[in-house]
């Protein structure tokens, strides 16, 4: 699966978790541009992503990510 396909699935996950059916994610989206993406929502989002792709993020792996595009890339690496 390529990074843009993952990004589109991430959009679905974010829409569900944040209960924002019209949310649009771009690769540049991050916690400051997405409404309600606070530290508690972050836990829920990470948990949902881990469950969806059956992957685990290692300690510190998420800290360096700048935006959703980076997250999609990281997921792609883990799935490869």
């Amino acid at each position: 699966m390529d990074s843009s396909a993952i990004l589109s699935e991430l959009q679905d996950i974010f829409r569900d978790v944040l209960d924002q059916p019209d949310l649009v994610l771009t690769p540049k989206s991050n916690a400051s541009t997405v409404e309600d993406w606070d530290s508690l929502a972050h836990i829920n989002l990470v948990t949902a992503v881990e469950k969806r792709y059956k992957i685990k993020f290692a300690l510190g792996e998420l800290q360096d990510l700048k935006n959703v595009g980076d997250m999609a890339d990281l997921i792609q690496t883990k799935l490869a």
Binding site: I13, D16, V17, I43, N44, T47, A48, K51, L62
Partner: protein, 614 residues
């Protein structure tokens, strides 16, 4: 990669859901609940008559995940929760030194979401027994202060977690026995918590809950270091389910009656067909042992005050014989209400509720047949219908997981309750989800394959003729070669019926065999498995029989009913289908005739596979 869940979510078991109609959370995968929690909460909250409850959660760790799930389960249980979550790690301070926020919130319940990670000081590894006592006392003192303070300042019930075992056992097995072992320390603390429990201080038995989930699946180091969550999502979910059960217990929303199906639920086999001697119960086979174990589980529920009722599609007299089986753990005296007949089960459950004078929303219905579970769940408001599957060895575990019978205290009356209930007065009629029975049948999405005997099925057809006793008009037995002969005899019409529904394939379940005699077809055999009773399969079989009969110039059907001890349920089979009675012998053998001249097909609820699909 494709997740299993979302489809089920969008189209719950009875089709797309409206805003107020949310399928049971227990039918969702945890990942779906976690992902769709906000939307689910919105939908569940729209239901009427929710009971407000205020719960303060004081945590030694991040409480949000448990709080979110608890909120969802409470709403599903009919509560409207308002939650207050204290600052992370401040449970002691908030309860003892600065309770202003708590007092202002005025909770009905305070939940202390603590874990083994909140233990302040474990004894050193070389501790003596005396040291251990001191360390225990110090640790317990904190919790006693919390409980006392909350009790004095608030009028609330306290739910206190006990402790799961430590993840690491530094001393190995000695960790549980030496005074310096952390496992030993936790076990001692839990014992002290147990003796402190009252009806205002309830212990949430995390030690057991974590053990059931499995400690390695309970704790996730990444989550702890990253988010100070001391449970995995599975652990949080198990905690939330337990807490919701305790809250239901506090408010008396505990279920009181276990309603049991019989065949393949409390014993193996079909008693009406196999006979009481052949049902699986006792110690002779692994299967029999498993049914015995399940009966023992049911009896242990009764012994703690849960009423047992029977709701079975069966001949009552034959059904009762099952409980007279010498190996049956359950006896008739244990059953507070016994309904064995051929009426739809939701009607019988309605009758049980009336007789026991209890709401069916306090019932748990246990049946191995998914179609029965579905109609009862849809028709009886508030009843719990766990998906027990069809493996008896799992029934008890699945029922237990529902936490239906949680109580916050246990009295002598509870033990005696089962004896207290007497038959009682009428109760208001139940609301029905389906407008009529036909709508229910349509919801089953049934498809039938009805065709002439074919070699592939001759074994199964022969077998059915020899073991079907209840829905069997003539109870004639056939050897394999006789069935083979009928299959190729141009003057014989033998048809079989297979039925699938949205729950799966019921297999080959009906057979009709007739012999051409001039322009009449003499129906010498008509049988069906009781598993598919009241599905209109008889109508579909008749349609096909008539079609094949007319194709070889037959103008009338001749039906015969030969009564036996077991086939009373089909005594009026031909009457119901509109056959005209012709004669009746002293032995009760009845014959009928049925004119085909103006026959119009009857089946409207079952889709038939056409020739190209066979």
């Amino acid at each position: 990669m494709e997740p299993k869940g979302p489809n089920r979510l969008e189209h719950g078991i009875l089709g797309p859901m409206s805003d107020t109609e949310v399928p049971l959370l227990s039918t969702f995968a945890l990942e779906d609940i976690l992902m769709k929690r906000k939307g689910l909460k919105r939908r569940l909250s729209a239901r009427p008559h929710l009971r407000p409850v205020r719960i303060a959660i004081l945590g030694g760790a991040t409480t949000n995940e448990v709080a979110d799930l608890l909120e969802l389960y409470l709403i599903e249980s009919g509560f409207l929760p308002t939650l207050h979550q204290a600052e992370y790690g401040r449970f002691y301070v908030d309860a003892v030194h600065s309770p202003e926020a708590l007092i202002a919130f005025a909770p009905d319940i305070v939940y202390l979401h603590t874990s083994v990670r909140d233990i302040q000081a474990f004894p050193p590894i070389n501790a003596t027994e005396a040291d251990l006592t001191q360390y225990l006392e110090a640790e317990l003192q904190r919790y006693r202060q919390i409980w006392t303070s909350l009790g004095e300042k608030l009028n609330c019930t306290i739910i206190q977690n006990n402790f799961e075992p430590p993840v690491e056992a530094v001393l190995g097995n000695l960790d549980a026995s030496l005074p310096g072992g952390h496992t030993r320390f936790v076990n001692e603390l839990n014992r002290a918590f147990a003796t402190s429990a009252t009806n205002k201080l309830l212990i949430n038995d995390v030690a057991s809950i974590a053990a059931r989930v499995g400690l390695d699946r309970w704790f996730d180091a990444e989550r702890w270091f990253s988010y100070k969550l001391h449970t995995t999502p599975e652990g949080s979910n198990a905690l939330a389910l337990s807490l919701a059960a305790i809250v239901r217990g506090i408010y008396g929303k505990t279920r009181k009656v276990l309603v049991l199906d019989l065949d393949n639920t409390v014993w193996g086999g079909v008693i009406g067909d196999d006979g009481v001697d052949k049902i699986a119960i006792g110690r002779e086979t692994p299967l029999a042992e498993a049914y015995t174990a399940f009966q023992e589980y049911c009896l242990s529920l009764r012994n703690r005050g849960i009423l047992l009722a029977v709701c079975s599609k069966n001949n009552e007299e034959i059904a009762r014989q099952g409980f007279e089986h010498p190996d049956s753990v359950l006896k008739l005296e244990h059953i507070s209400c016994f309904k064995a007949n051929w009426d739809p089960k939701h009607q019988n459950i309605e009758a049980i509720a009336r007789e026991l004078n209890l709401g069916a929303d306090s019932f748990v219905f246990v049946d191995d047949n998914p179609a029965e579970r579905a109609i009862v769940e849809a028709q009886v408001a508030g009843i719990a219908v766990p998906n027990i599957g069809n493996e008896v060895s799992h029934y008890a575990r699945i029922i237990e997981a529902g936490r239906y019978f949680e109580q916050t205290s246990f009295s002598k009356e509870d033990i005696e309750r089962a004896a207290l209930y007497q038959e009682n007065s009428q109760r208001a009629a139940f609301e029905s989800k389906f407008a009529d029975y036909g709508e229910y049948l349509d919801s089953l999405e049934m498809t039938a394959e009805i065709a002439r005997f074919k070699p592939l099925y001759l074994d199964r057809i022969t077998q059915l003729t020899n073991k079907t006793n209840q829905f069997n008009l003539t109870t004639r037995r056939y050897a394999q070669h006789e069935i083979e002969a009928a299959a190729i005899n141009p003057d014989a019409i033998g048809i079989y019926g297979k039925l699938t529904d949205r729950f799966g394939d019921n297999g080959l379940i009906s057979i009709v065999l007739g012999q051409k005699q001039g322009t009449e077809l003499d129906i010498e055999l008509w049988l069906m498995s009781c598993r598919v009773l009241k599905r209109d399969m008889e109508q579909a079989m008749l349609d096909e029989l008539v079609r094949h009969a007319q194709a070889i110039g037959i103008t009338a059907l001749r039906g015969t009913y030969i009564p036996t001890k077991k086939n009373g349920m089909v005594a009026d089979h031909y009457d119901k289908l509109g056959f005209n009675p012709v004669s009746e012998t002293e032995d009760g053998v009845k014959t009928y005739l049925f004119d085909l001249h103006e026959y119009a097909p009857r089946n409207t609820h079952i889709r038939l596979l056409d020739a190209t699909e066979l």
